[in-house]
Symmetry: C2
Subunit: 322 residues, 2 copies
């Protein structure tokens, strides 16, 4: 494989000149630049990424930490981040944390020793105190960590209120909420939206815990409909729970949407796969991934100095379950 | 941040000694090792991964190239690879190629400049000629690339025959195949299994192209059942197509499994989410990921010299669609 010395020799310039061309730094005469570029092309020279990162303390890579890629919300998000980053010449190191704080901190340490240029993190467990020592930029995705950490997220509270309002408008008299796990930012915000909307409509709240999972949600929906057979509307805290609820409701022989209406949150593809297709509050998943990547790149390049917090609105998508 | 010089100073030894302890190479007296380890701990010294990889031409990372993480077959596979690799101290660089050859080759070039220690690739497009210049180990996953590239895959041919046999045993008289895309290794193998089993049973083959996608499969199933209303069995080349077919069949008011039985291939979770739950030929996804990682590690560590090809059997999982 060709080295920087081979390039310098062929172009008839010094190694320092080749380096200036490669890094696009310092003055290089236009003719010289062309000679160097021709030599690079001719020798099929590939600058050694590791040596470059050691010298520049950068690796043209970023770390992406998510809870679990097998949760169907994340594959699309990961692709959007990867595509935006690749387009700017960055590679993505992906890590699943299962939101275990110890593991998250270990991953962050590991990434710092690998000179990643920045980190995007989806986490409910990590706190500002675990991140404040970092000298590289970090962006919180999907969930706000603290005011000191820039973030790109969705207005879960307003989305939840809108979902409950739809069920009300469609004629539901008794609306239950299948909530996500405790202490999870998105779940708490959606619960708060449900509670406020219900109380503003002077309706009584009924809450069961579905834990953002399909199986728990099936079991809890069975229990909910046994203990409250007059429920005619369910707001599920995410689409996965809504799908579990639909399975349980179908098993009980209750017709959706005639006897019971249900709406989810997220807008993952799974909602269009099941029958009846699921109405949902759709998050702009691709935009979330893209915006967080662009924001991180702006911090890495120094184009952005301020602390930005972007908040998107979830969009009502009505299908056959309401 | 502490440097290797700080550690050497505190431990009262030379930098070379600290280096020997860090790399676990060469002789170091037990007392000295303990002194160095104490100093590392006290200073919270983290060896610089980039400098280490430059020196050793290794980065303790591997590249994983898959077609598309949003295809529900891959998230579980990716996690299995990541977990096995992390347990051995390796990080995983994930890339989606969409099976575009140009992109795959670009990714491989990029990874080589980053000194990855090995590559796991899932691809139908790449050939041995694109890989033979590589000096790092490579393992083909899920699909066999050539005899010269070690691989971990599933016996798609036998799995397909078994699936067709089940439909026959359950009383199906006219069995159609929704096949995956042309020139895709797994799709071709499953088609071959269907054809051979059908001819050995002296039954007539009917083939439609579902392209491994949900929507195409819905459209093609509609067409299949319009053109051949007497079909009473469908072998879908993967679970995603089977789910599309179930949606189409349900829309047509045909009862599964009474009037028509259907079986898929893969064993992804989606099959348990829909109603009726899908019978399928389950691939051992977690084992595939684990085995390919272990094999790659063995090549990286020099524990394995031979060209290994591991082939797993798909397992029949009967649910409610047959």
């Amino acid at each position: 494989m060709a080295t920087i010395r081979d390039v310098a020799k062929l172009a008839g310039v010094s190694v320092a000149t080749v380096s200036r061309v490669l890094n696009n730094q310092g003055y290089v005469h236009e003719d010289t630049r062309k000679k160097v570029e021709r030599a690079i092309h001719e020798l099929n020279y590939k600058p050694n990424a590791v040596a470059r990162s050691l010298y520049k303390k950068t690796s043209k890579s970023i770390g992406l930490i998510i809870p679990d890629i097998t949760n169907p919300f994340f594959p699309q998000l990961v692709r959007a981040v990867e595509e935006t980053m690749n387009r700017s010449g960055y590679t993505v190191l992906l890590f699943n944390s299962d939101e275990v704080l110890k593991r998250e901190r270990h991953i962050i340490d590991l990434m710092v020793t690998k000179y990643v240029d920045g980190i995007i993190i989806v986490s409910n467990t990590i706190k500002y105190e675990h991140l404040q020592h970092l000298t590289i930029p970090i962006v919180a995705l999907d969930r706000v960590i603290s005011q000191e950490i820039p973030s790109v997220s969705v207005n879960n509270y307003e989305g939840a209120r809108k979902a409950v309002r739809l069920l009300k408008e469609k004629g539901c008299k008794k609306i239950a909420h299948l909530r996500g796990p405790e202490n999870v930012f998105t779940a708490e915000e959606r619960l708060r939206g449900y509670l406020d909307e219900m109380s503003s409509q002077e309706m009584e709240s009924i809450i069961y815990v579905g834990n953002y999972e399909l199986k728990t949600s099936m079991v809890e929906t069975m229990r909910l409909l046994t203990e409250h057979p007059d429920i005619d509307g369910i707001f599920a805290g995410n689409d996965v729970m809504a799908v579990g609820a639909i399975k349980a409701i179908t098993k009980l022989g209750i017709h959706i949407p005639n006897e019971l209406k249900i709406i989810g949150f997220d807008g993952i593809e799974l909602g269009t796969v099941i029958t009846p297709e699921l109405s949902t509050m759709k998050q702009p998943i691709v935009q979330l991934g893209k915006k967080s990547s662009e924001l991180l790149l702006h911090y890495i390049n120094g184009q952005e100095k301020g602390l930005r917090h972007y908040v998107y609105q979830a969009e009502l998508v009505e299908r056959d379950s309401t």
